[in-house]
Assembly symmetry: C2
Homo-oligomer: 210 residues x 2
């Protein structure tokens, strides 16, 4: 556990948001779990909304930065070879998947929060997600249009959104998928999950346009 109050609040908020959802997690539950005073949340952050924003930024900004770095590296290789669809998808999926492994190892299953954020209601949240994702989405759309010159842009736009859906649902509904699997697959084998997601989305992106 972190030693300073601000980080303790962020850690506890993140965990409880992931377990119970944002709306049904009270500031009291957060400060109790973090073992800090209730008023400290309003001192370090100004409101619950601002706390939500800080929790998401802390986790997603590094992920999105990593995504952009990986994409840039793919597009500017010394040998000039253009990236494959699979390589682009891996650059998009891997940073989240690695965060999932790392946080689960630390006993902090926060992936559900990342998977759920696209669909959590609330206009403030939606505009924040839009702001964080629009640049990333534009970059990946450009890269995919190079790797898949035969797919018309509007169709490629849809298929990128569907690829995001594959990721969001896999992490957001992991507990449900685990229940339906009845041991047929190991949802904790993150490298396998990553491989399955990439193969599926690559097939979807390449699907013939009728």
């Amino acid at each position: 556990m972190a030693t300073n109050t601000k980080d303790r609040i962020l850690d506890s908020a993140e965990l409880l948001f992931a377990q119970q959802g944002i709306a049904s997690t009270s500031l009291r539950a957060i400060t109790d779990h973090a073992d800090v005073n209730l008023a400290s949340v309003n001192y370090h952050f100004q409101s619950k909304d601002a706390l939500v924003q800080a929790v998401l930024n802390r986790r997603l900004n590094p992920i999105n930065q990593k995504r952009m770095e990986l994409l840039h590296a793919l597009l500017h290789r010394p040998d000039g070879v253009p990236p494959t669809v699979e390589e682009i998808l891996e650059a998009f999926y891997r940073p989240v998947t690695e965060e999932a492994i790392k946080t689960r190892r630390e006993g902090r299953p926060i992936v559900a929060l990342i998977g759920r954020m696209y669909t959590e209601p609330g206009e403030l949240l939606a505009s924040q997600i839009r702001a964080m994702m629009s640049q990333v989405a534009a970059g990946y759309l450009d890269a995919l249009s190079i790797a898949l010159p035969g797919i018309p842009p509007p169709i490629l736009f849809w298929r990128l959104q569907f690829s995001v859906g594959v990721l969001a649902h896999t992490f957001g509904a992991m507990h449900l998928i685990e229940g339906l699997a009845r041991g047929r697959v190991n949802v904790n084998d993150s490298e396998d999950v990553l491989r399955q997601m990439i193969a599926f989305a690559a097939g979807g992106l390449r699907s013939p346009v009728q």
Copy 2:
């Protein structure tokens, strides 16, 4: 608007759950919107949890029944021709998509609730979804294993979940997708959305297994 109290409560609850989420919709907001008395919610239903369950059952049971009918018709055609992957996907996607069109025409954009339910937190909700979906998932998994004999069962299981993710994200994050699209696609053209989802998921399901 319905004339009897019970249906008025269900209608209002469904709409507000879709707009604001389940946790942040109070019984008072529901009864105010439905223009009925607060106590009537505890008379007709016993608790907020039971109301949530009733709202989801009313909308999802017909959808899942239709899915099973369509699947059964595909598997028992007079000519005995086995269904294609696209036909199986259409049987799964179309009942939800048609409900989306119908309810939007009635000014009741409740698709977001259907798209979101897989990832809304809460053990009670999760067990209900699992109960409703396990039979449907099993039926579609069987059908897909006939249409795609070359795909090993565990991989097919993952790919069915990814296909659910495509649907759930498209409807659950439609407002976000619309914002990112900036006019490049028309999210209200439901037949086009359906066609795009089917083409993507079919490509994903057929993707080569390495």
